[in-house]
Amino acid sequence: MEESQRQNAVWIADSGLFIACGRQQNGKYIALARFATTNGITFLIPQRIHNELGGAPETSTPGQTPVNSAIDAGWVAVADRIDYTTPAVATVMDDVRRYIANVSNRPEDQIEKADTALAGVAVQRLARGEVSSVTVITTDTDAGAGIKRAVEAAGFEGQISVIDGFEFIDTIT
């Protein structure tokens, strides 16, 4: 990875990445930490996802996934609150909601806000010119497709990539 690319790119991670790494303990979580630290990457997580990971039952995988220690160690960070006044943010989040509702055959008001928050955090960084590209890692194919499509439609074609979390884990372990 080029140094310039590294500085101008942001990685946004969905809950599923951490959960998939933590399931059936076999070193996947350690591999994720190693990938982040050796490449100088900090995975950004929306506030909603941080809350989501924190509230799971204690004996479940997410209840035992040490995201807070990853935050302390510096390879995971919680994103600032989404600023809906930033141009494109609200539109992109609405588009994601509409896309997921359509693909899942459900009404829009049932779509969870964490999915749209991933897109909100991504487009906010791009719209403010803080980064030139965004990579979203998710284990949710439909949410990932909706996020990519909505961010591209807001004028950021070529600046967002979505990585399948399961495939990503296979490449780092």
Binding site: G16, P57, T59, V103, D140
Partner: protein, 197 residues
């Protein structure tokens, strides 16, 4: 053997056999192992499943008795083959089709913290319900959080359950001859007509 109206005795026996598999993960695991591998011997089962030989003998015997395994005694070394099962339960308009994929999920639960927690807290019926969401989750048409919400599970725990069952679906779709009969929650939410508690 079937008659024009089907064989009622066979149907009742089938219900009892499937109920046994759903309630006994060890038998469930053995059944789907044999289904996926076909024509296996006691030695092969003992070795690859790491179960004591005496247990394998007694469990294969139980499964033969239940009618879900057949034993080929024509060779010196007996081999076992699974009979693919599908059972549709319909109760006052609520319907579910049990296929080997659900049996496999039951068999994995004791070694999977998320599946065992799901069954412990919500019962096998929730596992069966979750499976209907994993079909569209894997094939496209269902997001993780929407599935968790409709299953009334904490979102992150729901995602973990989907991940566990995703592995079951990916492994079983080529071995379960009735895979297509599993209900797809994209078409109709799980427990749509029921009051969510």
């Amino acid at each position: 053997m079937s008659t024009a109206n089907g064989d009622p005795e066979r149907a009742i026996d089938g219900i009892i056999s499937v109920a046994h598999l759903l309630e006994e993960p060890r038998l469930a695991r053995l059944y789907t192992y044999i289904l996926c591998n076909e024509d296996v011997t006691i030695d092969e089962i003992t070795e690859s499943m790491e179960i004591p030989r005496t247990t394998v003998y007694s469990d294969t015997g139980s499964l033969v008795e239940l009618g879900v395994l057949t034993r080929d005694e024509t060779q010196k070394t007996h081999t076992y083959t699974a009979v693919p099962i599908t059972l549709t339960a319909a109760l006052d308009g609520d319907e579910y089709t049990v296929t080997p994929t659900l049996i496999e999920a039951i068999g994995r639960a004791p070694n999977d913290q998320d599946l065992s927690l799901l069954i412990e807290k919500h019962g096998i019926s929730k596992l069966a319900g979750a499976l209907t969401y994993v079909i569209p989750y894997v094939e496209g048409g269902m997001t993780e959080r929407l599935a968790a919400r409709e299953l009334d599970l904490h979102p992150a725990f729901g995602i973990a359950v989907l991940h566990a069952l995703r592995e079951v679906v990916l492994d079983m779709r080529e071995h379960d001859p009735y895979f297509e009969q599993i209900r797809n929650a994209r078409e109709r939410p799980h427990g749509e007509s029921e009051e969510s508690t």
